[in-house]
Symmetry: C2
Subunit: 281 residues, 2 copies
C-alpha cells in the first residue's frame, strides 16, 4: 500500500496516523506515504479518495501510476467521478465505490471513527466481474467490510438519499449535526421531502430505487449520535465544498432526464452562494 | 398623531427621530409618543406598524384605542395580519396596507431612507370605500405617496414576489444585500424560480397575478443600490424574524388551495431552523 500525501507528508512520516473510536484505538506508525505519484510508480489498483473538488488534479496525478491493466477505483462522494476517470484514463480501468463510514479528521495525524461502516464497490458499467470480487477480497483481508454490487450507479443514488439532505442542511440550517436535524420536526420533514425528491429523480434517471428507500437512511441517522457530515467538516476547516458532485450533478441528470429537483437545486444554489460569499469576505 | 413606543420611549422623547436620506435630512424633534395605549385613548384610525412576530400583543394593546367607528389599518409584512385583526376586533374595522419603502433604523432615534416609496391601502374585503380614500388622503396630506386598491389581498401576494426571495435569500446565502443577490447568476436564477412559484401559488389561491409580474420586482432591485431586506436587518439586530407572515402563511394557503410551494417551503423551514439554532446557542 502506497499513500500519496500532498499535504501533511512530513507530519504523517513523523507521527503516523492515530485512529481512535469506540472499542479500538491504534496508531499506524509507519505509513508508506509519498510526495508524488512518480515516486510510487505503476500499481495494480489506484484508489482515488481525495475530495471531488480536486478532480482536475487527477489528470496529472494518475498517469505515473498506470500500467496496462491498472484498475482505478474512486471512493469519492456524489455523481460524475467514474465518468471523469473513464474520460481521462479509459472506461475499462474504472471501478466505483461508496464508503459508508463516519469519520472526522481532527488534525493532520488524527482520525476519529464513529462507526466501522462498509465499502460497496462495482464496475463502471454493468455487473461485477472477477476483478471486482478480487478487489473486494483485498478490502476484506484488511478487515474493511466490503460488498460488491452489480449496479454502482444505483448505489450512488441510494447514498445521495442521505448526503443530499444531511450534508446540505447541516450547513444551511446553521452548522448543525445530524442529531439536530432529525430532532427538529421541520428539518426532519424537509429531509423526508428531499429524500422523496431524490428517489423520484433516481427513477426518472432509470435507477430504480424503491419508494421507501428513505427509511433505512432515517433509521441510520437516528441511531448515530450527532455526526457532522463531510461537507460541514469541510466548511468548518475552510476547505472547498463538494457542491457539484453531491448536488449539481444529480440536478443536471434529473433535468436531462426530463425531471426536476427543486429542493435539491435550491440547496445547490444556496451552497454555491454561501461558498462564494465566504470566499469574498 | 400619537405614537406608541414600547421600547425607546425616553430616547425618542429626548432626541426625537432623525431621518436621513438622499435629498432630505430632518429631525422630528417633538414626537408625540406614549408608553401605553391607555394613555392615548380612543382614536379614529389605528395604524399597526409593529413586527408581525408581536401580533399577539395587539390583543391587549388595541382595545383602549377603539371607539365605535375606529378603523384599524395594518401596514405589516406578509399574510394573515388583516385576518388576525378581524378576528379580534371585528372585520368591519379592518383595512390593510403595504409599504414599499426601503428604510433602515440605525439606532433608537435614527432612520435612514433609501427611497421615498409608496403606501397602498385597501379594505379587508372587496373594493375601496369612501373611508379608504379618506385615509389615503391623510397619508398624502402628510406627503406620503399613497394609492388605494380594490384588492389588497392581490397586492399582498404581489409584494411577496419580492419579499419571499429577497428577504429569505439575504439571510440564507450568507447575510448579503439585494445587490449581491441580483449580481450572482445562480441566486438571480433562484430568485426568478421563486417568483414564478409565488405567481403560480397566488393564482391557485385565486389572486390573479400576471405571469410576468416578476418583471417589475427584478427591475426595482436592479435599480436599488444594495439594500438589506427587513428580515436581514432583524437578523443582524437579533430580533425575531417574520417567518410565519412572509413564508409560513403563503405556503399554508397554497397547500390549502391544492398547490405547493417547494422552494418557498424550504426557505421557511431553513429560516425556522436557523432561528432556532441561533436562539439555542
Amino acid at each position: 500500500m502506497h499513500f500519496l500525501m500532498r499535504g501533511d507528508l512530513s507530519d504523517v512520516r513523523r507521527d503516523g496516523i492515530f485512529v481512535r473510536g469506540e472499542g479500538e484505538n491504534f496508531r499506524a506508525s509507519k505509513v508508506n506515504c509519498y510526495n508524488s505519484t512518480k515516486e510510487i510508480g505503476p500499481c495494480d489498483l489506484v484508489i482515488v479518495a481525495m475530495k471531488t473538488t480536486s478532480n482536475s488534479d487527477l489528470v496529472d496525478l494518475v498517469p505515473p501510476l498506470l500500467h496496462e491493466k491498472t484498475m482505478v477505483l474512486t471512493l469519492q462522494n456524489g455523481l460524475g467521478n467514474e465518468e471523469f476517470l473513464a474520460k481521462h484514463f479509459g472506461a475499462e480501468r474504472v471501478l466505483g465505490g461508496l464508503c459508508f463510514i463516519a469519520v472526522t479528521r481532527h488534525s493532520k495525524t488524527e482520525v476519529e471513527r464513529y462507526d466501522y461502516g462498509l465499502v460497496i464497490i462495482g464496475e463502471l458499467e454493468g455487473a461485477a466481474q472477477s476483478r471486482t470480487h478480487h478487489v473486494a477480497a483485498e478490502f476484506i483481508r484488511a478487515e474493511v467490510k466490503c460488498k460488491v454490487t452489480d449496479d454502482i450507479a444505483l448505489e450512488r443514488w441510494r447514498k445521495l438519499i442521505w448526503n443530499i439532505p444531511f450534508n446540505g442542511l447541516s450547513i444551511l440550517a446553521g452548522r448543525i449535526d445530524t442529531a439536530a436535524i432529525v430532532r427538529d420536526e421541520h428539518l426532519r420533514q424537509l429531509t423526508l421531502d428531499l429524500m422523496e425528491e431524490i428517489i423520484e429523480a433516481a427513477n426518472q434517471c432509470r435507477h430504480p430505487l424503491a419508494q421507501d428507500a428513505w427509511r433505512e437512511h432515517i433509521k441510520r441517522s437516528e441511531k448515530m449520535s450527532g455526526y457532522k457530515p463531510s461537507t460541514l467538516q469541510d466548511w468548518e476547516s475552510g476547505k472547498p465544498l463538494e457542491i457539484e458532485a453531491i448536488w449539481g450533478e444529480p440536478v443536471r441528470r434529473a433535468v436531462a432526464a426530463g425531471g426536476q429537483m427543486p429542493r435539491t437545486e435550491m440547496i445547490y444554489e444556496l451552497l454555491k452562494a454561501l461558498d462564494h460569499t465566504r470566499r469574498s469576505k
